[in-house]
Symmetry: C2
Subunit: 154 residues, 2 copies
């Protein structure tokens, strides 16, 4: 059955794909009318990118959709979307965002809600475990990522 | 002299470059310590992209800077940054944003200010004229762009 768990599993598969490429395991899929129309994962390391978070990579992979399609779409992402990705979600008026976990990092979920986006946090252990294991095994990379966005790691 | 007008002229040159490529004339440059470290222009049409607004293309071209560099940088953009680009500006704690014009479209400038970004609107006629002429000559393209982000054009 194509429910939230089904699509979140696809987002997790994207996170796993990033890990296999040597990247940070965060993934996302975009769904319109019960069909996956975009898939993406964090490619900051792989593409030496400053903008390709999993959600941005996913939106880009979906191509240039019509407004009506964005407005009925659901976004599945393994980690709570950051400020940039939340801005993209608001730009395209994505209807609903389903988040795997928001304990490792949390983005502006309230801002999304205030702007009319339905936000649901599933609390999926696998999402958190994938990322936490990566952080534990790659503390220098993770610390550099946090420094880049001004998070104190003291 | 390398003042705001000097760097805005470089952002306008990027907008012109987009126009020459058949794209939407919006451009941006990112400046750290008086030096341009990134340049970009809207490439939605050229790259069939959903994310490469001028500001995103510029941030990407700057590469992966250190947090300390983003935090002292100034962003020059010919048009008021949209929600996505403003989110990217907030993610990287960009210090100051200098906007060519905000009459054709206006982004969440107050949100930027509230999050601590210095925002200055220069009101440069050339920025507005470049974009307005493009819109007049390409009404169908512009209307499709607005539809994509849910703006009513009635």
């Amino acid at each position: 059955m194509k429910n939230d768990s089904y699509f979140m599993a696809q987002a997790i598969a994207e996170a796993q794909k990033s890990l296999n490429e040597g990247g940070i395991p965060i993934g996302a899929v975009l769904v319109v009318d019960g069909e996956v129309v975009g898939r993406g994962h964090n490619r900051l390391l792989q593409a030496e990118s400053a903008i390709l978070h999993g959600e941005m990579d996913c939106i880009e992979s979906a191509g240039r959709l019509r407004g009506a399609d964005y407005q009925k779409s659901t976004f599945y992402t393994t980690l709570s979307p950051c400020t940039m990705c939340s801005g993209a979600i608001m730009l395209y008026n994505i209807h609903r965002v389903v988040i795997g976990e928001n304990t490792t990092l949390i983005g502006p979920e309230e801002l999304l809600r205030e702007s009319g986006v339905e936000v649901e946090v599933l609390g999926v252990a696998e999402c958190r475990e994938l990322l936490e294991r990566y952080i534990k095994e790659n503390p220098d990379i993770w610390e550099a990522e946090l420094e880049r966005v001004g998070y104190s790691t003291d």
